[in-house]
Amino acid sequence: MIGKRIIPCLDVKNGRVVKGVNFKDVQDMADPVEMAQYYYETGADELVFYDITASFEGRKLFTDVLRAVASVIFIPLTVGGGINSLEDFDTVLKCGADKVSVNSGAIKDPSLIHAAAKRYGSQCVVLSMDVKRVNGQFRVFANGGRIDTGMDALEWAKKGEALGAGEIVLNSIDTDGVRGGFDLPMLRKFGEIVEVPLIASGGAGKKEDFLELFQYDRIDAGLAAGVFHTKKIDIGELKKYLSENGVNIRI
């Protein structure tokens, strides 16, 4: 049967990995290619790259990085950040991406999900959502979690799935960066209504958090950035630990 996945996420700006990078003695690890190589060798099941640059030059550097990574890393690569059109899909897929993640671009124009799924297949389209509780409701936030769209997140997830998203990444703003564990109460709400694979993001702080996450069988993958970048959690050790505790995972 299909194994659970561990996915490190790399935010890339001007050709370097930023945010959560804290390799004090190993400065070079902020080089995206070396970092990707490190994750590949320690057993990551997939890598996510977010382009967080806005400039044209930054965009060019990002696709250069992507091409370099895809030339030496042979696991699935998902790319997100600034994906607003089919042309954006085309650009990153040609540079070696396997899946493309949409967030604010799909909020602005939901038909992008449908158009991309039709052209590249649902398996290629990932809907990424930044979700936060507001007055007892799960709300979708746009622009990197900065703007409350007022949209109901559960409805958006259902709509995204109906439009053809093949996978949903749920990032809980409430637990993101806190490292106190994944937002299981929130994930359960989505797990009850969503049928496509669900990727949990936000809150991982220790190995046990992943074990707790995968006890809920509706979750397919755990995504994190900082805890992996700082080497607080080593992916090889994490997967060994999960496997020893009964999680079906590639080691």
Binding site: M1, I2, G3, R5, Y40, D45, A70, S71, V72, F74, I75, P76, L93, K94, C95, G96, D98, G121, S122, Q123, G166, E195, V196, P197, D220, R250
Partner: protein, 204 residues
């Protein structure tokens, strides 16, 4: 030299990268003469069967692939593997290259409704019949799949399977000859996938 058939289906970036990473001499081509002079052929492919079969015919390489397959090792990957079979029932009924016996059928009809389609992600490949293709591969290593249809009634052609409620033929071979098919993506299956490609490159 390995010729990777380019008939306008899917993206060959990762496959070419993996072959080059292994140090193999390889080219992407849509020319008949390249397939004729190549030592081995890889037939890739993603998308829908009918569309891919039509494009391979349009490229004029349909018959060349069939003829070459009887003379040199051929590897079909993902949809390229499905094309090797007799027929596919993906959104209609389409003729395949008929190089390996079996039919391509929808997974959804045969698996428990709670299981997701496509069958996407990492799954273990269990060896059911030993073969030189497994020279560098250990039983039960993980490979990466993305597909909604699968080969059925392959009879004696199955070398490796993955469990997804049904036994999905992951690695197949024609009963005679050196025609191989991989339903998973070896170019996305980490080191285990690279080792399978390396073994294919050494098949003679």
């Amino acid at each position: 030299m390995i010729a990777v058939v380019d008939y306008g289906v899917g993206n060959l970036f990762s496959l070419m990268s993996s072959l080059r990473y292994l140090g193999l001499n390889c080219i992407v081509t849509n020319k008949e003469e390249d397939l004729l002079r190549a030592e081995k052929i890889i037939l890739p492919g993603v998308g829908a069967f009918g569309d891919a079969a039509a494009k391979l015919k349009e490229s004029g390489l349909w018959d060349t692939v069939i003829e070459s397959a009887h003379k040199k090792p051929l590897l079909g990957i993902c949809l390229g593997m499905q094309l090797l079979f007799e027929k596919s029932f993906e959104h209609g009924e389409y003729e395949g290259l008929k190089l390996i016996s079996g039919m391509v059928m929808p997974l959804s009809a045969d698996i428990h409704p709670s299981l997701k389609v496509p069958h996407m992600g990492w799954n273990r490949l269990e060896i059911v019949k030993d073969d030189p293709i497994f020279k560098y591969f250990e039983n039960g290593e993980w490979v990466y799949y993305v597909h909604s249809y699968y080969a059925k009634d392959c009879r004696d052609g199955i070398l490796g399977i993955s469990e997804y409620d049904v036994k999905v033929p992951g690695l197949v071979r024609s009963s005679t000859g050196l025609i191989y098919g991989m339903q998973f993506h070896p170019e996305k299956s980490g080191d285990a996938g690279l080792r399978l490609l390396k073994a294919f490159s050494e098949i003679e």
